[in-house]
Symmetry: D2
Subunit: 324 residues, 4 copies
């Protein structure tokens, strides 16, 4: 499925893995300030914040999977199948189609606080982009350096959760995921003490035994716990190179290797891409399953006052570096 | 600590992670056929098989961590602290210092079978390289495309284990590690069946639930199980690019992220490098904690009939690829 | 804390453990049909169903921990500290004090269906019995042979959950407990298959490996899973002796042994008593930590048309049976 | 399968569960000092220590499952299928048939120390009792208040292990079982600390969370860990009643409930009986699956200078105690 995380050093980083058994075709898409944002149910943003992110682009429209705007507010949509439930269009309401949620927020909000307020006013509806692209079942993490929230539209309504851990995976709902961390409270990067019995001479025969009990499989509850542990305990210097590098190591802890998650006979879910953006600098980094080297796209290298979407293909083929 | 694995597609691949809190200074070292192999206790190999591997090089002598020879036989030494125990020098015996074990085998054996025989004839002794470099506590995995063995020199003597899973980590001894896999036999890349109770409507709420119970921490027993699962179930096309890429994903499942294994106050064990060699082609690939791009050194690009060691620095600094 | 379960053979059985570090003084209390049930907030039941259960009796009033009525409807209150939240008294509402909930239901409802309806009409309020006995934080399981429900009064209101598994423990809320069972769906009383890898010859070296992963500690989530597994897979003949015996084995799987749950220095939570009632026959069986032999109290041996409570001390001292 | 444990308060207690899908027919058998002990391979003990234990009695010969002698040395044989391997009869050696091992030791040794010495001198052989009773595959725990040992006769020879934990289960071999405890060293009867992350407000939502990770299934490795935790942390007063009671609670933690371990279609392994002897007093206590009340047989109530075996049927039918 997918996993998202945030990471704070000198700058604020955020990103996600996208795990699936095939790709819809992704591009890095920069939407400048004057790209005409005409929403499905009549709304319109003329001039707005620019944003960069990974998208499936249809008819020059970016269906963003994740993105960050020029103000440093980032957002990612992750699978939430079976729980996600969107509203019907209501007359007089601010109807935002599910696929428009990321641009709706990132085009208008300069901060997480502004996003929280705007979310309260909208009606998130189940209008598909077109007949070929039915409504995805998603929930979202929205974050800037002030914090994170999770937004889940379910049968009972729209839930907005504070997200103190700054990670998101998939099912179950966020309250269950967060609660589940309590069960792992004794896990530590340090070696364990012998609390079992003072009369037994138990040994730490290996390094790294303090986190015994950390789940290692690819289910969404296990990925949530594992990436939370890795993120909360992760250490790096605070420069750009080391921060970005550490971020990819954090999400590397929940990478899906081909063969380990069979979704149908001979079909395997893999980590198609991993992204990481520097929220302050507007640089979008990514790696893919086949391309380990980190590739960077800088939104400030294009004219952000333009009207046209700028897109870059997602590079997926690595050249080995030949040292001799 | 460290983890090693093998992987068979069209060619046979093998490699390892080296996990530690600091580096001794590693180089990729190619030892050609006429490099004079003078052993500590009087033995000598004049003409021998060439080999390539990662080594700490002292006075032009490669202290190999792992290597493969031109015949496709590979070998890696991994920490085995507390269990490893080497012999005293015995007069009349074929005394091989622990640090000479890799060149002793790789210089003379064209296959795993030859290695098994040669190992029976030697006396593996506890002579240190010099006073600054005390004897490391190691055990070894030796493999070619016919199979793998694990060699452990312990208090009771030298144990040579068939290694059907083709992986090695650290403590405890290999028989315990292999036995422990039995406890994970029901783990699967496929979704689980409800065997708990036919009367309960239990749900697979996430993909990847078939491996629930797979350990996710960094201790050596957990890494053994996790990399075994990932390797045995790993899937890739059989060409060089995809095979090598998949191999790095396999060892990526046991990567040590900085911060998750604290070995002393503020000191963290990390995966310093990960290696992967194509045993048939004599190409040694590696990545480092800071350099994700795969770097390749091909032993056949140097004169293998030479007498001098050829070394390459271990590149550890990644340039992000700037796409715009 | 506590664990409750139901069990169906020819008759319907239900019961619970009460786990705590000290006893308030328990008695088996039979409330006959004409015992005057005067409720705190003005309500009254003149003639009502008789019931039997374990209670702390104050001033001839039974504060029931668990009970069953003559119609076969049973009910048990279990700790729910931190989540339980009761209402304020509302004028005009059917205000039922938390400590009156068990008699309120059991005196008036002949079935689970009737209980469901009656619960909807009441306002469960936080009036304490007296100043020495503050309001306990409880949730409840109510069951007859048609099924089970769980009732939780929380900050958001009163939740009534269908309880398909027929067990209850403590925190977290019931939806989380029930959801958590999904993570154990592959556990089985049968031996596991090797799904890890067809290429490895993994062994079932012991019987009982099909439930590897079942939690064995005394926390409430672990007890919920363990007793659910034991109950759902439990097997016995359907006569009274074997059914009751099997029921005590089921709850024995979550017994708290003195020393294994330290709640303060030198204070240990233990299973003070375990109860099991035959809902059809009105027999209340129990064991205690110190008295393993099953003791039975039959409500039909007293005059159920009386007005006075009949109580029996909870026997807690076992005579060993001397066979020679 | 089976689990054995020791427990020290004022006196020294030892006992075991016997888990199987059917009973061979057990009796409590007291062997007095002058019972003629004629061994299969020519050895003989004329006058010897008396003993009491559970046995399958054939032709007046007790095939002991577990027993204790009048000096306080106890011994229990537990299944060790697949690992147990006994010797061929050797001329000139002290050949002791596997089924004679318990009387061989208990008739001659007044202490664990004496037992250790005597074991070194014997040749434990694979002679069956008769054709209907093939050689069982067992290993043994031998203990008095000075300590415990485990004796395993395997392909490589006879292993005598110090047993600091004083428990035994079944496969794998004892070194692996003991080593495995290291993986549970952080488990505690006390509540856990939050070591996961200081920045997260994790909660102990339930009592008993300090032992999260304790295995709860019925496999032999899990029973070993669970009973070790329960025994090492068990607390009771030191009088006879409380000590014996606590001992049955300890072994209750590994009881096998009918239905949870299916060994063939519709065949379930259960805890047929649980024993506990007071080594000083020579009293043998037991319970069975169907009889929870503790039954006691005192060896000192019979004439220990007699020549005849005294046996008592294993009572397996409980009368409920009717309190009204």
């Amino acid at each position: 499925m997918c996993t998202a995380a945030t990471y704070q050093t000198k700058d604020f980083y955020m990103g996600r893995t996208l795990d699936y058994e095939f790709s819809y075709g992704e591009k890095i898409a920069i939407m400048p300030r004057n790209y005409p944002l005409q929403y499905r149910h009549g709304l319109k943003n003329i001039e707005h914040y620019a944003m960069i992110g990974m998208a499936h682009v249809v008819e020059d429209y970016p269906l963003y999977y994740d993105a960050v705007n020029e103000k440093g507010l980032g957002m990612a949509g992750l699978n939430f199948v079976g729980n996600a439930c969107y509203q019907e269009v209501k007359e007089g309401a601010v109807n935002v189609a599910q696929y428009e949620f990321i641009p709706w927020i990132l085009s208008q909000c300069a901060s997480l606080n502004e996003a929280k307020k705007l979310i309260q006013t909208m009606n998130l509806v189940n209008t598909p982009y077109n007949e070929q692209l039915p409504v995805a079942s998603l929930h979202w993490i929205i974050a800037d350096q002030s914090g994170s929230i999770t937004v889940e539209s379910v049968k009972e309504g729209l839930n907005i959760y504070e997200n103190p851990v700054g990670v998101l995976a998939n099912n179950p709902s966020f309250d269950k995921q967060l609660f589940n961390l309590n069960n792992y409270m004794s896990l530590s990067p340090k070696q364990p003490q012998n609390l079992f019995s003072k009369e037994l001479d138990l040994q730490t025969y290996s390094r790294g035994m303090g986190a015994l009990g950390l789940p290692g499989d690819l289910s969404s509850m296990s990925r949530f716990v594992r990436v939370a542990f890795t993120k909360m305990n992760g250490q790096s210097r605070d420069n750009e190179r080391d921060s970005v590098n550490q971020f990819f190591h954090i999400l590397g802890s929940v990478e899906q290797q081909r063969g380990c998650c069979e979704v149908a006979d001979g079909k395997y879910e893999i980590t198609i891409y991993t992204s990481c953006w520097n929220s302050q600098k507007g640089i979008y980094y990514y790696t893919t399953y086949n391309r380990r080297q980190i590739t960077a796209v800088n939104m400030h290298k294009v004219n952000l006052d333009a009207q046209q979407l700028t897109t870059y293909p997602m590079l997926d083929d690595e050249e080995f570096y030949e040292q001799n």
